[in-house]
């Protein structure tokens, strides 16, 4: 390995930090031909490929292959229990899914819970980050430790905790509010509220840490100068702090949105999708794993995959999120 110290390619791309990815691909692409001509750079390229290949191949096998297989299966009338009689049905599965109100209903609920939880998490996460930034030296460590607890806890465990806090058999929340007979999971809006609460609790720490990284990059003098110039705290927040951490916010927003859109665990534990709380992931799970409707379920999975891709595209093209900034 020591040999490779001298094996710097003339392109010198290896010296670039990931923070400066903006516009990095274009020079890389045009330079590819010429870059690997010298003996040294060829040897370096070979070593690099050899080292990166195992990981890349495993990645492709464990994700690329299943996705392609799902796409393939989604075009067949296929039940796992009756595989001999499967036949290509020209995309009829997609017609079935897309013309079923259940799909639109689960999609609507998934979008609702994504928008609501991510919006609350952003505000709450920003508040947490402000507190962490301004905390006295002595409490900085403890507060970060405490905030990491929800991050580390298993989602299913968190979902059980919130479920038992509200449910009719064990829940103390009803007792506290004097509505012991109220079944929180018995109607849509309260079930939605409890599921959202569990999600928000679990994932706010992660957002707040990304926000903290963004906040820490704002030069102190800038805020100080605004204060000296007589800016109120609201003006400092909206004119100085927020604009300067826009990229950190956008990256946090994008990754949380994509994650929230896949929500499955909490719903499975709390309501099993009852009362209109089924999400796209739980719909796909019901079709494939519970009912063994492999063809239909694969179509739902592929549609979910496309939705995630669409959200990605929206963020990267629409909001111009630069992944190079994602290091916060």
């Amino acid at each position: 390995m020591s040999e490779s110290t001298e094996l710097r390619g003339p392109g010198g791309a290896s010296a670039q930090s990931p923070g400066t990815t903006r516009g990095r691909e274009k020079p890389g692409r045009t330079g590819t031909r010429k870059r690997y001509t010298s003996e040294r750079s060829r040897a370096e390229a070979k070593l690099g490929l050899m080292l990166a290949a195992p990981a890349a191949i495993v990645l492709l096998l464990v994700t690329g292959y299943p996705i392609l297989q799902a796409v393939y299966q989604s075009f067949f009338n296929l039940r796992l229990t009756d595989q001999e009689n499967s036949y290509f049905n020209w995309g009829a599965n997609y017609v079935t899914v897309l013309s079923d109100p259940l799909w639109w209903q689960t999609l609507g609920f998934t979008l609702l819970i994504t928008v609501v939880t991510v919006a609350v998490e952003l505000v709450l996460g920003f508040f947490f980050a402000m507190v962490m930034l301004n905390a006295m030296k002595g409490v900085r460590g403890p507060i970060r430790t405490i905030i990491l607890v929800p991050y580390g806890i298993i989602t299913v465990v968190a979902a059980f905790s919130w479920k038992y806090a509200f449910d009719l058999g064990t829940g103390f929340v009803g007792t506290w509010f004097g509505i012991e007979g109220f079944d929180w999971f018995g109607n849509f809006w309260s079930a939605f509220a409890v599921i959202s609460l569990a999600e928000i609790w679990k994932t706010t720490p992660f957002i707040s840490l990304l926000m903290l990284a963004g906040l820490a990059q704002i030069p102190g003098d800038m805020v100080e100068a605004a204060t000296v110039d007589g800016a109120s705290w609201w003006q400092r927040l909206t004119r100085v702090i927020l604009p300067n951490m826009k990229s950190a916010i956008m990256v946090a927003l994008m990754f949380r949105t994509l994650e929230a859109f896949r929500i499955f665990d909490s719903v499975f534990v709390m309501t099993q999708g009852a009362n209109g709380t089924a999400t796209v992931s739980s719909l796909a799970y019901d079709q494939t794993i519970s009912q063994l409707q492999t063809g239909l379920g694969s179509a739902v999975s592929v549609l979910l995959f496309l939705c995630v891709g669409l959200i990605c595209l929206l963020f990267i093209k629409g909001f111009r999120v630069n992944l190079g900034d994602s290091r916060g």
């Binding site: 390995m1 040999e3 490779s4 110290t5 390619g9 791309a13 290896s14 590819t32 870059r35 370096e44 390229a45 070593l47 690099g48 490929l49 050899m50 990166a52 990981a55 890349a56 464990v62 292959y65 299943p66 996705i67 297989q69 799902a70 930034l133 301004n134 905390a135 507060i143 970060r144 430790t145 405490i146 607890v149 929800p150 991050y151 580390g152 298993i154 299913v156 465990v157 968190a158 905790s161 058999g169 103390f172 840490l209 990304l210 990284a213 003098d221 499955f264 665990d265 992931s281 796909a284 494939t288 794993i289 379920g297 694969s298 592929v302 979910l304 995959f305 992944l323 290091r327 916060g328």
Partner: protein, 283 residues
């Protein structure tokens, strides 16, 4: 920002109040499930926050009693499967991240951005075809049948996080050591390994957390205690008798699997935070 602010007693109090509120919010569900796990069977359904008296009965049930066949194999599966999936991911990603961070080769950005893209893949889209394939080739309900798909969780985040760690390492030190007379191997072992180890370790923690948290693979690709991990097993818990609420045993099992998380967080808070924000993708 923090360094330059002048703190009046009022602002100081406000920050302390905010700190206490955050601590309450973050720890509340943990304290609740702990309290629930310490309730005796007669207390479980009393719908109070605190138990009337402390009881170890739920722990007894899952560790030594009737529910141990549900819990202990699941715990063993979770620990074994997650450790192996983490180890494999860390070894593969160390090689790949070293190459991406230090060497110039065609397609390095492809590997990097492919792993970033995979962190946002919907797990259910991968589960569906695997469920069929695993049933056909006999990997359904086995350790290997979970370790392989767990790599789709642990490997991408490891590549991404480690690459950003490795890009920060002052690699010139290696050359400097060689100039000073160290052999290539000495320079690598004495200079590079100590610099790279914290990043590798932090990456392993984050990858392990993600594998430990999995539910969808666990519940879809297993059917017995042969490979079922804890999160999936929890949803199959029953009470001491069939008609009893399993809440107590679920709560106790939840606490048992949460303890290692809290210990890791207590010991390595600084590393985890730096890993999450320098890798900066998901948790």
């Amino acid at each position: 920002m923090a360094a330059t602010r002048t703190t009046s007693p009022l602002t100081k109090t406000l920050w302390i109040v905010a700190f206490v509120l955050i601590a309450l919010w973050a720890l509340f569900p943990v304290v609740w499930i702990l309290s629930l796990s310490l309730k005796s069977p007669s207390d479980i359904a009393n719908r109070q926050f605190w138990p009337t008296e402390l009881s170890w009965e739920n722990y007894d049930l899952i560790l030594f009693g009737g529910a141990q066949e549900l819990f202990l194999p699941a715990l063993r599966n979770s620990i074994g499967i997650c450790l192996i999936a983490t180890l494999v991911a860390v070894v593969l990603s160390t090689l790949a991240a070293y190459a991406i961070a230090r060497l110039d080769f065609p397609g390095k950005n492809v590997v990097l951005y492919m792993s970033l893209a995979i962190t946002v893949f919907p797990v259910i889209s991968i589960v569906t075809p695997l469920f069929n394939l695993w049933s056909t080739i006999g990997l359904y309900d086995t350790w290997l049948g979970l370790i392989i798909p767990y790599l789709s969780l642990t490997l991408p985040i490891s590549i991404w996080t480690l690459t950003s760690f490795f890009k920060e390492i002052p690699w010139e030190l290696e050359q400097a050591a060689q100039v000073d007379g160290a052999t290539a191997f000495q320079a690598f072992r004495k200079v590079i390994v100590p610099l790279a180890a914290p990043g590798v370790f932090t990456t392993a923690i984050i990858a392990f957390f993600i594998a430990w948290n999995d539910f969808l693979y666990g519940i879809s690709l297993t059917s017995t205690s042969a490979a079922r991990p804890v999160p999936a097993a929890l949803s199959f818990f029953t009470g001491a008798s069939q008609f009893e609420e399993p809440a107590g045993s679920i709560a106790a099992a939840s606490i048992v699997v949460t303890i290692p998380v809290i210990i890791i967080v207590l010991l390595f808070q600084r590393q985890i935070v730096s890993g999450l924000t320098s890798g900066a993708v998901k948790g």
